[in-house]
Every structure is written in C-alpha cells, then in structure tokens.
Symmetry: C2
Subunit: 243 residues, 2 copies
C-alpha cells in the first residue's frame, strides 16, 4: 500500500529509495535482536511480498547487507544473520596536501634529499631486485601553516618508473606526482608506532626515541614493486574512522 508521504516537518527524511528502506528495516530487526545471530531470514520472494517490492529490489538490499558483513548468504541454504558480525573499518587515505588543506591550513612542501642509491638491505624484501639495481631515494617535508606536519622518506624503482629520472620534485611531492603519472594495481599499508630516529627528530622536532606514528606503504604494478614509502607524522597525529 503506498502510504502518502506527508511532509513531516523536522522529523524523518522520508526519502524514496526502496532498497535503502528495506535495508534499514532489516538492519533494525537484526540490531534490535528481533533476528538474532544465526537466524534464517525469509526468502527473497517472501520479503519482496512483505515489503511490496520486487525480488530484485530485495536482492539488492540483502546483497549490500551481505557485503557489509551483516548477513551471510548461500544458495539453497538461504540468508542468515552472521553469528559474529564482521568488524571492518574503512579509512580514507588522502594525499597530504588534501589532508592539510581540509584542516583549513596552508600546505607547504620542501624537498630535502634526492639521490640514486642501491637497494638498501632493509628494503630487499620489498624490492626484489638485482644488487646493481638503482632506486631513487627522496626525503621530503610537508608543512601545515609552516609547521612540519609529515616527513616522507621514499624509494622509487627506477627500472619500473623510468619517468622519475626527469621528474622535478622540488615543487611537487612524489606522491602527488606518482598518482597522476603511474598506475598501480596493488597496495599494502601498515600502521605502527616507532621510536623517533635522527631524521624525525631533526625535521619533526621529536626528542630521540619519542613515540612516532608511522605509516608504510608499498605499491605494485604488473608484478613489479614501484615504490615504498615511510611516513612519519607530527606528534599526536591520529588516524580515525567512524562507521
């Protein structure tokens, strides 16, 4: 029955997106315990009838809830509420510039070092390259309103990204350059804490051995390691997400 959507003043935003309403309603039944963990849900046809929608619409709602980790679906077995809801968090990984400007600050950048080196021993696992291979080693600083915000130490596989040789990193950061110039297929990101070493102490004004929040990222394309980067953040930096 099509209920007349009378414009409720301030209460609920009665938006018409049927599959979204169905999704919300099912989610409500799950979170409020009406359908506890492991419960077998009615079939799509039955739900479609209940909600006065087509099976395709119900299918979309259930499919998204399944992707979100709330439900578990198997042919013939039906749809069940996940026994232990899958907890997963999504973090945005913005460019430093965007991150800084989003905070209302003025972005600044400085290149501190740029040279060709052999693969350092501690990166042998990341770059599976012959010993004579060369990497472009960069050290850069990113500022927010003139204050050091992030220290970036990066290694780029020259063989995989030959264009870097002619790239000028004095005014634009390597990250920004890379995302606009090189496609990638796989990324690995790690978050961890480490004691400040000489570099962080010098540029980010840490005391020796103080706790630094760090991010490491490695990027691949077509089976080759393109680049590996270590990011050190200024004090009290947090990575936060909400869901």
């Amino acid at each position: 029955m099509p209920t007349s959507p009378i414009p409720t003043p301030i209460l609920l935003t009665a938006k018409r997106a049927s599959f979204r309403l169905i999704k919300d309603e099912i989610l409500r039944r799950v979170t409020q315990g009406q359908w506890g963990p492991g419960t077998l849900l009615p079939g799509e046809i039955e739900l479609a009838h209940e909600f006065g929608a087509s099976r395709a619409t119900v299918n979309r709602a259930l499919g998204e809830l399944s992707a979100a980790g709330v439900l578990e679906r198997r042919r013939k077995a039906g749809t069940r509420v996940r026994l232990q809801p899958l907890r997963q968090a999504r973090f945005e990984i913005p460019l430093v510039r965007a991150e800084i400007e989003a905070g209302g600050a003025l972005y600044g950048y400085a290149l501190k070092k740029r040279c060709l080196i052999r693969v350092p021993t501690h990166l042998r696992n990341h770059f599976k390259l012959p010993k004579q291979a060369r990497l472009l080693h960069l050290i850069c600083l990113h500022f927010a309103d003139g204050v050091p915000y992030q220290l970036e130490e990066r290694w780029i596989n020259v063989a995989a990204v030959p264009e870097v040789s002619s790239a000028d990193f004095s005014t634009i950061g390597p990250n920004e350059w890379l995302v606009g110039a090189v496609p990638y297929s796989d990324v690995e990101i790690s978050f961890f804490a480490a004691p400040a070493e000489a570099l962080s102490a010098k540029y980010l004004q840490y005391n020796e051995a103080e706790a630094v929040f760090m991010v490491e990222r490695t990027t691949w394309w077509a089976g080759q390691t393109l680049t590996h980067v270590r990011l050190s953040f200024r004090k009290d930096h947090r990575v936060t997400t909400r869901y």
Copy 2:
C-alpha cells in the same frame, strides 16, 4: 603526457556479458591510461550497446566502480574517471582471541582490575553523563602463548548496559562479552602512537616512554555511549591491509 598506444584487444563477449566482465574491462581501460583521469565515459546506453548488455547491467558495473572510488558519477554530467583516485583502505578489526589464534598461538586472558568509578575527566568528551554517573572500569591482559600481547583498558556505561553488573569478566574478555550481548550502531576507531605509561610498562614490559601502538574505540547505541576502550599492543605490532 598521455602515451599509451597499447593496442586494445577487441574484447568481444558475444555469449554472456556479465557485470563483472564489464567492470574489469572498464577498469583495465582506466588503469592502462586509455581513459585517463577526468575522461568522460560514454553514457550507459552506449556502453550497454558496446558490451551487448542491458543498461541495468552496465549501471551495476559503473555503480560499483563509483563506490570503489575509480569513477565519479553525476546526473546530466555523466560518468568521469576520478581525477585523483580515492585511496581508501579496509582493515579487519578482529577479536583479540581470533587474532591470536589465527597466528597459531594459544590464547590466554587475565582480568587485572574491575571496579566502579565516576567518569574520569579525560573521558568527559566520550561519555556525556552527569557527574554522579558510574562507569565500570576494567583492565585486562590478553596473552599469546603466555606472552602479554595486548593490554585492554575499558570503561563501560553502566546505565546503558546494566547487564554488565552481573557479568563475570574473570574468564571471558569484555569485548567478547559485549559483542555477544549488546547491539551497537556507531563505532569510532583511532590509531595512534603514544609513550608507554606505567600500565603498559608494567604489563607489556615496555620501558617508560617507549613507543606504543595504540587503538581507541568508542561505541554508541541509540545516542548513548556504551563503552570506550584503549588497547595497547606489544612491541612491533602492526596493522596491515592490502588492496
């Protein structure tokens, strides 16, 4: 400099065009530079014709690529390749027990402290409660093969979760108890680095002020803060994801 004269293999799928094949093909054209950043894609009808599929199928493929951050869609304006691919990472947030057992180690647990307290001043922002309100304060340790793995300091809003009063946390961790007993609607997670304080030093064998990787998580339900937790991990702990 758009240099990619890669001969496009004429991918004809006269038989069964699936939304997944379409998705892959479009992604290939984007990553291989055939459709560079900012490029306006053909409309859904045109693509549907090219791929020999219906518009709904193409719509699904494009919709998922949009959700994944590869494309950007707007009515009337059409579908474009994102100028700056949205980088987002998904992290699994497992239960400690699962995390430890997944590593092949034996899980161990110990409750170190349990008492009712008033809302500490540093948690006033998380728990918007009257001054006389009480929180259940817990300190627990999680072991991997007998070695301290994670220190958990937790505060639970007794008013919002009255059942905690009768819960016995001597053998099962509060996290495990909560996920099985209390529904939640909103979660905020933060990752950061902090110097070890007395508690971490004592239980996780850190030296004072050493770098500790920490996670904070706050959970809400129906507008109320349910619980807030600080997790300190043993040395060299990393949170990693790949995509």
